[in-house]
Amino acid sequence: MPALVRVQAEPFDVAAETALLTRGRADIGAVVTFTGLCRDEGGRLDALELEHYPGMAEAEISRVAAQAEERWPLLGLTVIHRFGRIAPGEPIVLVLAASIHRRAAFEAADFLMDYLKTQAPFWKREHLRQGGAGSWVQAKAEDDRAAQRWAEPPSGPDGGQI
């Protein structure tokens, strides 16, 4: 079943998205949801503004979602990423993964977040409470390292020996 992927300006409803995935089913044993929220950074921020690359954003998220569905036995996968101006406390991103057992659901959600952070074409700019646009948020080396955790093990003669 292909993942449900949406890129939108509007807020999303985690409960409704979960119901959409699970209602009427009795084969799902585990649902993991990740919600990423806008922080005010200790009162410094008035909002985050998310610029995105329309078309590529959906394509890239769908590509990574398909990888997750190939790698883990998922019974449902939803990814929603917002763009535009987002106030502190509001949700930015949702990943919802369902499976028979918890391990697949946890790992798939974790994997998707690491790849969204480093591969999905979105860029955050700060808007400051003291007025005016602040700077573009810088990419973190820590996020690249997190994404590298998911690299497939080498498949050569010594593959999987580590």
Partner: protein, 83 residues
């Protein structure tokens, strides 16, 4: 060919997109960047640290040595900060 720019690459170049006719001899994305840098200060500024700027051809991430081929849309942007 359509070029599109995002975030601070867009701001430095001063436009979100443009149509360009490429001269003969441009083979890779790196060739295209070198040519753009010769078009004016704003491009030079946007690509001042070339290794930081990412590229995509027709919505797919590519490396600087990727071939331009029959690309319809090439995008340049900073490292992504979504999620």
């Amino acid at each position: 060919m359509k070029l599109v720019y995002f975030a601070w690459v867009r701001e430095r170049i001063g436009k979100a997109e443009e149509e360009v006719s490429l001269p003969d001899g441009l083979v890779t994305v790196a060739d295209l960047v070198a040519w753009l840098k010769g078009r004016g200060e704003e491009y030079d500024y946007a690509f001042e640290n070339e290794s930081v700027v990412r590229a995509a051809i027709d919505h797919v991430h590519v490396k600087p040595d990727a071939l331009l081929g029959h690309a319809r849309e090439i995008a340049f942007f900073p490292p992504m900060t979504g999620g």
